[in-house]
């Protein structure tokens, strides 16, 4: 996993709450056995019309948001299915940072595993940033993970909360499995006791 320390990028707004992972990547694209190449299917049913052409009304299709790497959305982003294809698609499309008032639990953890930073800001702050992304051309944000801040081009800074354990993993790009396997002896010992139980 690529470490995440600081990131500056173009912000794109997606003004809806409860965006579920079925919208982020519809089921017909879950049959692939690879991890890569899901970006083309991101928000497929919203991004494309039935004839396959782009839906001009969908925010990410507007020319000023091409190349965006920060997505600002509504509350409970990523609810529903546990499909990790959702963060794979977001990452492959180019998103490194997601900002929303809240995220669904499984989705948040799937983001961490893929080096995507989900940032929770208050509804008011998220809405303010989203409005600016809607009204200002080339609206860029800078995210600093060590300081846990998001800064706008005017120098206004927003702080966010972050679990210190996950932060460490993101900063160093640590491998989860490798970390757990440091405690292989503990696992083996636990396993011995557990295997002796009737159930």
């Amino acid at each position: 996993m690529e470490p995440f320390v600081e990131h500056t990028g173009l912000a794109a707004p997606l003004d809806a709450a409860n965006i579920d992972t079925d919208q982020i990547i519809p089921k017909q694209f879950l049959k692939r056995i690879e991890r890569a190449g899901f970006g083309q299917f991101l928000f497929f049913d919203w991004r494309f019309k039935d004839d396959g052409s782009e839906n001009p009304d969908f925010s990410l299709n507007e020319p000023q948001y091409r190349g965006a790497s920060i997505l600002i959305a509504g509350a409970n982003f990523g609810c529903g299915s546990s499909r990790e294809h959702a963060p794979w698609a977001l990452l492959d499309y180019g998103f490194r940072v997601l900002i929303a008032p809240s995220f669904a639990d499984i989705f948040r953890s799937n983001c961490y595993k893929n080096g995507i930073l989900p940032i929770e800001l208050s509804s008011e702050d998220a809405a303010r940033l989203r409005r600016q992304a809607e009204t200002r051309d080339g609206f860029q944000l800078t995210v600093n993970l060590p300081k846990q801040t998001v800064s706008d081009p005017d120098g206004k800074t927003y702080s966010f909360e972050m679990d210190s354990f996950r932060k460490e993993f993101l900063l160093k790009g640590l491998d989860d499995i490798g970390w757990t396997l440091q405690y292989e002896r503990d696992i083996a010992e636990y396993e011995k006791k557990r295997d002796a139980l009737p159930t």
Binding site: D15, A16, A17, N18, D20, D22, Q23, P26, K27, Q28, L30, K31, R32, I33, E34, R35, D45, D50, G74, A75, N76, C79, G80, S81, S82, R83, E84, P87, S102, A104, D105, I106, S109, N110, K113, N114, S123, D163, S164, F165, R166, D176, I177, W179, T180, L181, Y183, E184, D186, I187, Y190, E191, R194, L197, P198, T199
Partner: protein, 468 residues
Amino acid sequence: MNAPRTMFEKIWSSHAVREEPDEAAILYIDLHLVHEVTSPQAFEGLRMSGRKVRRPDKTFATMDHNVPTSDRSLPILDQIAAKQIETLETNCREFGVTLYDLNSPDQGIVHVIGPELGLTQPGRTIVCGDSHTSTHGAFGALAFGIGTSEVEHVLATQCLQQQRPKTFRIAIEGGLQEGVTAKDIILNIIRRIGTAGGAGHVIEYAGSTIRALSMEQRMTVCNMSIEGGARAGMIAPDETTYAYLEGRRFSPKGADWDAAVEYWKTLPSDDGADWDAELEIDAAEIAPQVTWGVNPGQTVDVGGAVPSPDDFDNPDDQKTAERALEYMDLTPGQQITDLKLDRVFIGSCTNSRISDLRAAANVVKGRKANADVRAMVVPGSQAVKRQAEAEGLDAVFRDAGFDWRESGCSMCLGMNPDTLAPGERCASSSNRNFEGRQGKGGRTHLVSPEMAAAAAIAGRFVDIRSWS
């Protein structure tokens, strides 16, 4: 005396291999269920790092999401789906994992076969790369869905890194009205707490109403915990649980059984245990529920009407409602019982077990599906299918003009050929009414299997309480 603990805390602390401040806990996993859609990249990850499956004896796989529900002797036409199914076969063979494949008499939806086989047991930690793993909590297990990276982590280490969640006790007390089901209980709960109401929490469902439910009904309740934002839902084990489990293939036997029951009896939450959140609901207030929108919190009583965005206080909810009305092609004030249907789906890990099919068949018996409605019944597993056929339920459905299919997820998510056409309106016994879930442009209303069956006959929603 020890401080009173919740069932969640007991299971958590007995499975924490390591729990240190400022670190995620390392939680031992007793049972890992695997299916074809969320596992290929995990096995590939193992292969790339030269790792093995640590405990193939605690890992069980089946294929359910992708599989056709038509004649099993025919080849699978969808090449990419066929490839994914083949990949699971290869992976299970290579890594030594037991697989209930398409030809197996035990094949079925992963959350239906776990309990059927007796793999799901009280006190266990159970995970699967699937958000409805919460189903297994009905047995007093700590069961939750994980992503593919976590699937790989469990395969490699038999453990997971987890932050301790909070606890939420929801008590439902009293008798249910005739015709009101476990599905209505959980839809009503989600309607009250919202689709994020359980976020960060494990829900324990308690109270006299829950105690009176069968195991299959309890599974329906726990299944949809994730729709209320909770990763896990659980119900304390009791005599109903033990009676269900006794004699199943993987249930403990003989002296082990007695010892297991003794242990299971220590699991229920202690009186006076602390909860981070609590809610009490009077069962008598719950009417049959119908979702009108595009998330399972957008629900009304069957006797109610489609709401207006103005009925909601929060601007987010208003916007979501506006969008939902447009997508669902509904107008505020329309009576739910005036909504005409094109399709009916009885199936999914929420409601495809034998008791669901019996209840639906009971509604259908001796009647014919409405001429404008295409109805299908998809048993949750091959075992459910066999049992239903032995009882003649297939004939009841067929005589009524319903389609009787092979087991799988089917139109719950439409990864296989079973999908809604754009604009079609469907009464579904499944768990998600998200946009496009059952087919692009399809319009899903979640209901109990009884309500779905009655809707198929009448061609529109009816209040099952007045069905005779």
